[in-house]
Amino acid sequence: MTQRNDITKTWKLFIGGAFPRSESGRVAPVTDIASRSGGKALAYIAQASRKDLRDAVEAARGAQEKWAASSGYLRGQIIYRLAELLDGRREELVESVRMSGRLGKGRARTEVEIAIDRTLSFAGWCDKLDSVSGGRNPVAGPFHCFSQIEASGVAVVVASEQASLLGFLTMTLPALACGCAVIAIPSEKEPIPALIVAECAPSADIPQGVLNVLTGLRAELVPAIAGHRDIDAVVASLEPELATIMQLGVSENLKRVRLIDPSERFLDDALWSSPRAFQTVTEVKTVWHTVGT
């Protein structure tokens, strides 16, 4: 027998810079829908639990202040490096997007290329958002008054179910670029493109805990996210029922929640690379200082 068998991969979670299994021990198979291989498992992914979420929030909280305090120039170089690494794994990304059967190979490639270019775009935002959205406030009194744009803190992204790579990156990059630490929940059906991004993160020098990726079931994770009191912001693409549960989480600790239509395809560069992308994951801080002798 000379046929070489594939090494069936088990993709793990990404928490605090490490790749652990779910503490629950649960895994689920991923199948190649496009090849109609009869539901044969091509890979396995971990299914995160409530406890994994808590661990990820703790890791993110521990890393966030230092990440936000680093210069925009540094964050920009790190995200640029991420774009380089993603470009290097472009074929694998195309294959992982195609595997879902949602897109043919050509459109899968287009989506991957847009996603990588968008990463590059957000690398450039890191040291420019304040120039565009902040600035001096011309107040009537003898004060130097300015508003600066700061990261909201720990942000959760419940990424697009459909646009498994482009949606994941478009929703995650603004938070990373402005200095949030992120817990990202990839598409439930197509998690692998996001897991490839997670594998690139350490090589891009994204500090441990700044990006965490939890694969798993939305119906389980969304209530846990909504109820968690140490999450500052949420950007989520959810169907109405889960969206409402997430919105109810606002009353828990006033976490900011931005909902994105699940049918969104994120193709419009002018919209998704604009300063509006930073809604919810940034705060405006206004500082006054007396002027005089």
Binding site: S133, N137, P138, C145, G153, Q247, V250, T286, V287, W288
Partner: protein, 483 residues
């Protein structure tokens, strides 16, 4: 009066402007005043003497419906009106507020209880400034909040706005001016204890011929607000008030497409470093916590002072407090007026008792005789306060200051951030580099360095964390009212 204050007796200096108050006020819907459909009313009193000022219509579901329908009808014309024509109405409102400033100040003081010095010098001029500033934005929205395709940004639609009793007219201005500038129409609900200046503003809106329905003002208590929040034809809710009510509103809005901004409570730190100009810092502490009887969401209610100067600061604070004049809010020399309502006074007194019961030392230096009627609370502060104490954690919304100390800047920041709130903070130091570094580390939306309680329509205001979300003022404030 006893002690030093006796030698500093002032003659009364009451504000002489007389203000006409009608015996009753209706709801302002579709450009006209009308009684509530069910005919229900409530009384509004002067908290400084408990006399009834007027009887006000109480809006119920059917009235809320009418107001929202009126705003919806007006929306089409208002949003499509040429931007500079919208601007002219806002400029006229600003001018009329300025022209009627003294009348509005006196009315505000009578209805709210705050000193005439504050309404005259702060509330009313700032309300006028807010309209004037936003008038100028009407035709510049494209550059303030650019859209992806370069088109003029669209308004959100019909905005339900609910405001508190601590700065009644000013909060009405903060809400209405940006909403109108962006082309929205409004249903505003003032707080039930302070409706009079909002209704006077409605008269001004009639004077300037604002198209009917662009602004509707419905009076009533919490239930009226709940009806407005739950109304199916409202596109956005903007609320300023307690964190508790803010949470309830967030729950009601969940599952709908309504936009939401919340400006909620605070427990703001005021940090004095040893290298600060101590006398100025003490003045800052006074204005931070005793202005408006401490009934300010961004009040500097936690004084965090470097240990080496703590005794000096507390001694100077004690001396300064002794000269605070508590009493008739219409007296131009009054520093501390009446608490807005009996309910609020009860709440403040309960917190003072909790503070004492939990073992902190209560200092009530001011010994002014309080009027027999009305709601009064002498300013006070607590020392020996632990971070776990209730009075160090919860918003009191009264003239009650807690004092804590620190040794290093890191400890000061940790103490400042040790709260679920994040509205404002004060930093007192003569070193600019230190001020900016501490400002960066504090999680709050507004940071005042060597000053406190400064407001300006050009400066965004609003909170981090459980102090709410969204900003008011400046460019950030506009985006809350644009689609």
């Amino acid at each position: 009066m006893t002690g030093t204050t006796a030698e500093w007796e002032y003659a009364p200096a009451p504000e002489s402007t007389k203000v006409e108050i009608k015996p009753q006020y209706g709801l302002f819907i579709d450009g006209a005043f009308r009684p509530a459909k069910a005919g229900k009313t409530f009384e509004t009193i002067n908290p400084a003497n408990e006399s009834v000022l007027s009887t006000i219509a109480q809006a119920e579901a059917i009235d809320v419906n009418l107001a929202v329908a009126s705003a919806r009808r007006a929306l089409k014309g208002w949003r499509r009106a040429p931007a500079l024509e919208r601007a002219k109405y806002l400029y006229r409102i600003a001018r009329r507020i300025q022209e009627r400033a003294r009348e509005l100040a006196v009315l505000e003081t009578m209805d709210n209880g705050k000193p005439i010095r504050e309404t005259r010098d702060e509330d009313i001029p700032l309300a006028a400034a807010h309209f004037f500033h936003h008038a100028g934005w009407c035709d510049k929205l494209r550059w303030a909040c650019p859209t992806a395709d370069g088109s003029v940004p669209e308004p959100v639609g019909v905005c339900g706005q609910i405001i508190p009793w601590n700065f009644p007219l000013l909060m009405a201005a903060w809400k209405i001016a940006p909403a109108l500038a962006c082309g929205n129409t409004v249903v505003l609900k003032p707080a039930e204890t302070t409706s009079l200046t909002a209704l006077r503003l409605a008269e001004i809106l009639q004077e300037v011929d604002l198209p009917p329905g662009v602004v509707n003002i419905i009076t009533g208590a919490g239930e009226t607000g709940r009806e407005l929040v739950a109304h199916g034809d409202v596109d956005k809710i903007a609320f300023t008030g307690s964190t508790e009510v803010g949470r309830a509103i967030a729950s009601t809005v969940a599952g709908t497409k309504k936009r939401l901004t919340l400006e909620l409570g605070g427990k703001s730190p005021n940090i004095i470093f040893a290298d600060a100009a101590i006398d100025q810092a003490v003045e800052g502490v006074v204005s931070a916590i005793w202005a408006n009887q401490g009934q300010v969401c961004c009040a500097g209610s936690r004084l965090i002072v470097e240990e080496s100067v703590a005794d000096e600061v507390i001694e100077k604070l004690r001396l300064r407090m002794r000269s605070l004049r508590v009493g008739d809010p219409l007296d131009k020399n009054t520093d501390v007026g009446a608490i807005n309502s009996r309910a609020q006074l009860t709440r403040i007194e309960r917190y003072i008792k909790i503070g004492v019961d939990e073992g902190a030392q209560h200092h009530e230096v001011c010994d002014a005789a309080l009027p027999a009627k009305g709601f009064w609370c002498r300013p006070c502060f607590f020392t020996g306060v632990q971070p776990a104490h209730t009075i160090a954690r919860e918003e009191i919304f009264g003239p009650v200051l807690v004092v804590m100390t620190f040794r290093t800047p890191d400890e000061a920041v940790a103490r400042a951030n040790n709260t679920q709130y994040g509205l404002s903070a004060g930093i007192w130091t003569s070193r600019g580099s230190k001020a900016y570094e501490v400002a960066r580390q504090i999680k709050a939306g507004v940071i005042w360095c060597n000053t406190f309680n400064q407001f300006d329509p050009a400066a965004p205001f609003g909170g981090y964390r459980e102090s709410g979300f969204g900003r008011e003022g400046g460019r950030s404030g506009l985006s809350a009212y644009l689609a």
